[in-house]
């Protein structure tokens, strides 16, 4: 990884515990992504996925460590990093157009009304909500609300799009169409995206890189899985690809067993050099070896 567009460097998040001690959600987490990549974090509840995302967004601060985006350490929130919230978080007193325009005027304060409207309209059209501009969020279905959330995030042309389980509250059919939309938009615009999900198939369909996190508290990034499926994969025939099951089984195995006993079975896991795995036909192949010279137990665990 030469081009580190996003680089999370040794962040930790600790909360005050009940007995005066500190409970650590995760410690010394390192993670990086290149420009235009789509990264997905998978892990069980409580592993600190949302905290990582909130730190990336600037809504939360790490207890230790730093996050560097496009060569600059982040400080607080920024219009460069748009967030799509799980609960869509639309302002209910504004219309669809009003919600998107709010973001547009926040980014370009000096724009006149007509220009803001035209710009907002472009993104409403992009997510397929043409004709619903003047509806209020309460008049929209869950899927349409999340489309507005996507339009709002995209309208400010962010460097990174951060998504916190954006489709988990939607029914399977709507989720599918929205995944298609997000994939289409990200491929067309070369958008860098970072998403949190529970859904293995969603990660396989959308992500270039899947980050596997072990269970919290004291969660670690166990492994980075490179998606071996072709860029032009389709959602409906995803499961026919020869690599699909190898990839899926690898992730599911991790979630079922290895995420629990990772710390016990892997002795010298180096959080700075997390092994990258590319499951294919047969056994997963390790494409990048950690810089540690001695035989790394993580490699054997990966098989």
């Amino acid at each position: 990884m030469t081009d580190k567009f996003i680089s999370i460097e040794g962040i930790a998040r600790r909360y005050p515990g009940a007995d005066g001690g500190r409970i650590s959600v995760f410690e010394n987490l390192w993670l990086s992504m290149s420009r235009g990549e789509f990264g997905c974090v998978i892990g069980h509840s409580g592993c600190g996925k949302t905290t990582v995302l909130n730190i990336l967004a600037g809504l939360d601060e790490p207890s230790e460590g730093a996050v560097i985006v496009d060569g600059q350490a982040i400080e607080g929130t920024s219009l460069d990093r748009a967030v799509i919230f799980q609960s869509h978080a639309l302002l209910p007193w504004r219309t669809v157009l009003g919600n998107v325009s709010y973001a547009v005027t926040s980014k370009w304060r000096k724009w006149d009304r007509a220009r803001v409207k035209a710009h907002a309209q472009k993104f409403i059209d992009l997510v397929g909500l043409t004709g619903s501009e003047h509806k209020r969020p309460s008049e929209l279905s869950g899927g349409m609300k999340q489309r507005v959330g996507i339009a709002r995030a995209l309208s400010i042309s962010p460097k990174i799009m951060l998504m916190d389980e954006p489709f988990s509250a939607l029914d399977a059919l709507t989720r599918g169409t929205l995944q298609d939309e997000v994939r289409r938009i990200c491929l067309e615009t070369g958008q860098t995206a970072f998403m949190i999900t529970h859904d293995v198939d969603e990660a396989i369909y959308l992500a270039d890189k899947i980050f596997l996190m072990t269970n919290g508290p004291g969660a670690v990034l166990a492994e980075i899985v490179e998606n071996p499926l072709p860029k032009d994969r389709g959602r409906i025939d995803l499961h026919r690809h020869p690599y699909y099951y190898a990839l899926r089984n690898h992730i599911v195995d991790f979630l079922v067993s290895r995420s629990k006993n990772f710390a016990a079975t892997v002795a010298n896991h180096d959080p700075r050099n997390v092994p990258t795995v590319r499951p294919g036909l047969g056994d997963p192949t390790i494409v990048s070896t950690p810089k540690v010279v001695e035989t790394h137990p993580a490699q054997t665990a990966a098989r």
Partner: protein, 279 residues
């Protein structure tokens, strides 16, 4: 026969009203002459004694008197004889002024309390002690310091309507959904713009509820306050008519106080509907 619920309710209301008027009429009508008495004595005693008429006016007395008032609502025959329109006008003006002052103080201060946990905790003991004080208990202090009865009444209105608004504003502001605040934060919206574009609209329904409670209390208190300070206003009118032993006018005043109170509440309810958003 299926009439709308509203229509059927109106019918029941009318029937109840008619029944109330009927019972009232029967209870206060004249019975036959009660006793023989000399004409001079009878003249002195009036209808109550000669025709067995109740001292309580009947619905027709009140109706006739009300019509008289409605025909001339704004006459002014000196300090103790002014039209009901003028008296109500004084009361509404006092309530309006005191209430407006309360809005100007309570909403910004409520915002501050809602947004700053420090200020909230620091002011809490004061609010807890001041809130349960009867607004009329302030009256002597107000009269002594302000030295003007009319302004004292306005002050009493101010002090009684400030608390519900203050507490509701603080609560509404503090309870704005975190996700909406986060939206504003990720969009790098400044504090002032955030207060006006996110917090104010989100808290507006709660603030308006507080304002609606306040206007109700203010209208309750003005009658009592005007009874104390005297001079003008509907409260003074009630007390003056009691001293005149004109129960008819007292009943009319009670009716009007109720109607004006209802109208004030309706105005605030309309504002509340305007700022309420469905989720």
């Amino acid at each position: 026969m299926t009439f709308s619920l509203r229509f059927r309710a109106a019918i029941v209301s009318l029937v109840l009203f008619a029944a109330f008027l009927g019972i009232w009429h029967l209870a206060t009508r004249s019975t036959a002459a009660v006793a023989n008495m000399t004409p001079e004595y009878a003249k002195l005693m009036g209808l109550t004694a000669t025709a067995g008429k109740s001292a309580m006016p009947g619905p027709f007395d009140v109706g006739a008197k009300l019509w008289e008032h409605l025909k001339r609502p704004f006459y002014d025959n000196g300090p103790n004889d002014k039209g009901l329109g003028i008296q109500l006008g004084y009361s509404i003006a006092r309530v309006g002024l005191g209430y407006l002052l309360a809005v100007l103080v309570a909403i910004p201060l409520g915002f501050l309390i809602g947004m700053s946990p420090l200020i909230s905790k620091a002011l809490d003991p004061f609010i807890q002690v001041l809130k349960p004080i009867s607004p009329l208990a302030w009256m002597p202090l107000a009269l002594y310091t302000i030295k003007d009865s009319s302004i004292s009444a306005i002050f009493v209105i101010f002090i009684c309507s400030v608390w519900p608004m203050l507490l509701n504003t603080a609560f509404g502001v503090a309870a704005v959904r975190k996700e909406w605040i986060n939206v504003a934060r990720t969009l790098e919206v400044g504090t002032i713009r955030r207060a006006f574009t996110v917090i104010l609209p989100a808290a507006a329904p709660t603030i308006l509820t507080g304002m609606r409670i306040s206007i109700g209390i203010a209208w309750l208190v003005i009658v009592a306050a005007e009874m104390l300070v005297g001079g003008t206003g509907i409260g003074y009118f009630v007390w003056n008519e009691w001293n005149n032993l004109s129960i008819t006018n007292v009943i009319i005043a009670i009716l009007l106080i109720g109607i004006v109170g209802m109208l004030l509440d309706q105005v605030l309810a309309r504002f509340a509907r305007m700022v309420t958003f469905p989720e």
